[in-house]
């Protein structure tokens, strides 16, 4: 505990360095804008802005990119409450009661509750991350190839199980991502795979062109400017502070959202989206007046907004402690650190304490910055939405090209982005969620290497996965999840996932 406090103090000394604090602020500001703008989510935002961090050191880069990530969770609530437009997928649930509160003249109170809840959720997440990540990293050092294989398989199955689309669709997307991850030189034998005599493909397909193509360009292709937002309501912020009654109504949902969000954040999948949905469902179930939900219930704003921020922070636990991305966003962050020569995993805390603790401390600082940014500057952020979409998307395409090209100075990457944009458009048409594809692409090399190393270790005996307690336990959980999914499929039982799918479909219609 004492060591942790000392390390955290080291982190704060790093985070408060003027340059680092400036990049945290910049990340939070850009993240809020990314959250406010519909059609450009945190994944595309981080990927596009990756080259901007090339001139920075690893600590500054991760501080800024993480600021964009959790800043977008804050920003997403603004448009949800004021305009019933979820700037970010995790803000879908906030639209329902947030907008209803705004219509009752309580927009300021809803924004304030969302911002304070987000701050509490985010700060609690960082606090637990501070305490949990270092000991978890110590345990993870003992992981061998079979344990990593089991953990990654569990991650994929968990992702598929938690997904709002069907299990098969998610597994198909993950398989496609894993397949794309096979392109390039085989690390164990040196064979070139599917590189079609293009030297640039020797290193494989990068995550940035794929993520930017699927989520940035793909979204633009699927959004004709005629369908984009035209009327932007002027926010009324005369009553910014919630009443004592509203605070009372928000207190327990914020507490529950914090705990629920953090726990879900650790689990692989689009945790911040799922957590906000589950928090909303939980609050409605626990409420003494569930009929108020949909008509401006304070708990319907406080719970989901807190949960999605706590989940964003929770997602950093497996990233920093195990080096395993649990979502496409954390996968891009791993890529960013690798570009800066920092390998993420259990050794990060010992090998790069300044990066690890500087990053953790910057999240405390960043959460306070976001609280200060989001309330007074809300009108300014909403002004961005007044730019006609017809003018906005050519600029986004330009940033997509810069972002992808600058990562490796490779025009092949830009072509890959374009192809992925078309693929993303087609996938949306056929109702596939492209997020598992990106996750599959990132974990492909780790999964393949650990699987093959395990088989080499055991002389081809698959029993190695069942003879080691940790991998056995992880595979048992995978089997359990598959069984649960099969039961739900056979009984055609509706559960929270089908309801989430309907809520997300509602987002499209909004």
């Amino acid at each position: 505990m004492e060591t942790t406090l000392h390390s955290l103090l080291l982190g704060f000394s790093v985070a408060f360095e003027p340059h680092n604090a400036w990049y945290a602020f910049l990340g939070c500001l850009v993240g809020t804008l990314v959250g406010v703008l519909p059609g450009i989510g945190p994944l595309a935002g981080i990927s596009i802005l990756l080259p901007v961090t090339f001139g920075l050191n690893a600590t500054q880069a991760i501080i800024m990119l993480a600021g964009i990530y959790y800043g977008s969770q804050y920003g997403g609530s603004t448009t949800s409450i004021l305009m019933r437009i979820p700037g970010e997928a995790s803000s879908v649930m906030t639209c329902i009661d947030g907008y209803a509160m705004a219509q009752k003249g309580r927009a300021g109170a809803a924004l304030c509750i969302a911002a304070v809840g987000s701050w509490i959720g985010g700060t609690f997440g960082v606090l637990v991350l501070t305490l949990v990540a270092p000991p978890l990293a110590t345990i993870a050092i003992k992981f061998g190839p079979p344990e990593y294989t089991a953990l990654l398989v569990l991650g994929l199955i968990f992702l598929a199980y938690m997904s709002s689309t069907s299990l098969i669709r998610t597994l198909l997307m993950a398989s496609l991502g894993l397949m794309l991850g096979m392109i390039g030189i085989d690390n164990l034998t040196g064979d070139f795979r599917y590189s079609f005599n293009l030297a640039e493909l020797g290193d494989g397909i990068g995550i940035v062109p794929v993520a930017v193509g699927l989520f940035g360009l793909g979204e633009i292709l699927a959004t004709p400017s005629a369908d984009a937002v035209k009327n932007v309501m002027a926010p009324k912020l005369r009553e910014l502070l919630p009443t004592r009654q509203e605070w009372r109504e928000a207190a327990m949902p914020i507490t529950r959202g914090t705990l629920l969000g953090f726990i879900i954040g650790i689990i692989p999948g689009s945790a911040h989206i799922i957590s906000s949905f589950l928090s909303y469902a939980l609050e409605r179930r626990l409420s003494r007046s569930p009929e108020q939900f949909g008509k401006g219930a304070v708990a319907g704003v406080a719970g989901p907004e807190t949960a999605n921020n706590a989940a964003s922070t929770g997602a950093f636990v497996p990233l920093l402690a195990l080096g395993i991305p649990t979502s496409p966003i954390t996968a891009v962050l791993i890529g960013a650190l690798m570009i800066h020569g920092v390998s993420v995993g259990p050794t990060l805390v010992n090998e790069h304490p300044d990066v690890f603790w500087g990053f953790v401390a910057s999240m405390y600082v960043g959460n306070i910055m976001l609280l200060a940014l989001n309330l007074p500057l809300v009108s300014l952020f909403v002004t961005v939405l007044r730019i006609p979409y017809a003018y906005l998307y050519p600029m986004i395409i330009m940033f997509c090209i810069i972002g992808v090209y600058e990562t490796n100075n490779s025009i092949i990457d830009v072509w890959i982005m374009l192809i992925m944009g078309v693929l993303g458009y087609a996938l949306r048409k056929f109702e596939f969620d492209p997020a598992p594809l990106v996750l599959g692409l990132v974990i492909a090399p780790i999964l393949e290497q650990s699987l093959r190393q395990s088989l080499i270790m055991s002389n081809g005996d698959y029993f190695i996965f069942l003879s080691r307690p940790i991998s056995l336990g992880l595979f048992a959980v995978s089997a359990l999840l598959l069984t649960l999914a099969a039961i739900s499929f056979v009984l055609k039982k509706r559960d929270w996932r089908s309801t989430l799918a309907e809520a997300e479909a509602g987002e499209v219609e909004t």
């Binding site: 398989s175 064979d191 633009i220 699927a222 374009l418 081809g460």
Partner: protein
Amino acid sequence: MILRADHVAGAAFIVFGLLVIAISGSLPFGTLSSPGAGFMPRILSVLMMLFGATLMLRARESRAFATLTWTDAKHAAMVVLITALAVAGFEWLGFVTTNVLMMFALLVIIERRGVMPAAAYSLGVVIVTYVLFVYVLKTPLETGPLGF
């Protein structure tokens, strides 16, 4: 039988899996005790075909293929075409020229905006971005024959 969206999607994944197996011929599969470079791709191809077949079998739950709306396809195709032309000329013409032309084309051809506002906007945005990246962020951008 009604052709459904998942029939088409499932078939596409099966064809893709077959294609990967077909072009993986030269990659050694190896043995279980020493898996080769073709080991994982073949496993994934088979899995993908299995999942694709399952999707086709459950296609009744999906929408009829004929009901998929493609009204935005023309807009998407135009954006892809103009962006592709920009990508093709990017290394030759450089960042500034390519992006000014691309944004101008997107605004005038697709969005039917006036020539003068489109030109002013394209030029302004690209120059501000160039200055931001090259002089403020010290991140060099691709230069063309004119040195920018």
